[in-house]
Symmetry: C2
Subunit: 209 residues, 2 copies
């Protein structure tokens, strides 16, 4: 129904997460109506991000591709956190995605390092242990003398399954294994908290005196 270049743009946009056919159409027409410079900037930001950003070879957080000047070579990139000698190498916070690293960094409370799995176990989507950076995690625990692993998966089914899988893999190792607390969110209203969250908050109660 649409001219070929338009249909192709709609199809490509429709492949992005959270964008259905109607949104894709809306965004495509927005792009067609917007100034040529804006569209060029969007296209080049995609290309640039892909070209300049890669995964940290140690923790799989996002890292900038080392340019020739900074002396980067065949070794691959390392992220800012892994390069920072002041971070505590003995504590490893295991998260699903790079955006989770940012979330923890924003708290300003964590001084250890991270390990990004680049996903969570989800057999229905074809994501098994082999698709995640789990082998790399086990190798790091060994090689870097890690004493505590903090499991920080998302508090949903996939995250819980992933955490259980890691607990099984690590339970016989001498490393201390912890998991972030689930409970009522700060600023939340008990009245609106769901039963599961409230149940977890109750289970995780601690003495205050």
């Amino acid at each position: 129904m649409y001219a070929a270049p338009v249909q192709q743009l709609i199809d490509e946009l429709g492949r992005l997460p959270g964008i259905g056919p109607k949104s894709a159409q809306r965004i495509a027409f927005y792009i067609l109506k917007s100034p040529a410079e804006d569209a060029a900037r969007l296209a080049s930001s995609i290309t640039a991000a892909k070209a300049k950003v890669t995964w940290c070879r140690r923790c799989f957080n996002i890292a900038e591709v080392p340019s020739a000047e900074t002396g980067g070579s065949g070794d691959g990139a390392e992220c800012e956190i892994c390069r920072d000698p002041r971070r505590d190498s003995s504590v490893l916070c295991v998260v699903e995605e790079p955006r989770d690293v940012i979330a923890f960094e924003k708290t300003g409370l964590y001084r250890g390092r991270y390990h990004v799995l680049l996903g969570a176990l989800s057999p229905l989507d074809g994501i098994g242990p082999a698709q995640l950076k789990i082998g790399e995690l086990l190798a790091r625990i060994e090689a870097e003398g890690v004493t505590e692993v903090i499991l920080s998966m998302n508090p949903n089914t996939e995250g819980e399954v992933t955490a259980l899988h890691l607990i099984n893999l690590l339970k016989d190792r001498s490393v201390k294994l912890t998991k972030i607390a689930t409970g009522v969110p700060v600023g939340g209203d008990l009245e609106y908290a769901d039963e599961l969250t409230l149940g977890r908050a109750l289970e995780g109660r601690h003495e205050v005196r």
Copy 2:
């Protein structure tokens, strides 16, 4: 917090309609995780659509930029519908956006031509009559011997205001002025129809015998 190319991609995505900061972040990481070919295809589909698609010089529907071979020259592009000699030039369906043309074409019931305003009146967004293709509409009615103008704006405030504006402009001309019916949608449930729609459906009732 993010590396510059990532932040730039998030910013650019966040400018698209219906994409908030969280979605922009999610899509950016999706693009970073996806194969390089996919990202390249997305970027080039944006560039290609902008380069190959323009507005029809007659009706302002989307039209492919004429290539050198097809003999296109300084005249500008014409859309498929305007180029089709079998379409009835005496009837003009006025719509807001090119996507509305597609919606009417899908019905297979309309054989006239279109005029796309490329928007609707919205003073708060700075869109007045000068920003829409209204002057061009008046010129076409004169030049092409149009006998019926079908107002097909969206049934919302902006659309109604735009329709009223056009009715005022055209009421003294000898052209027949019609407006598409508003009423309960086919397949809809009366129980779930809002009062306004139901009111309009009642107003627009017609004898069946």
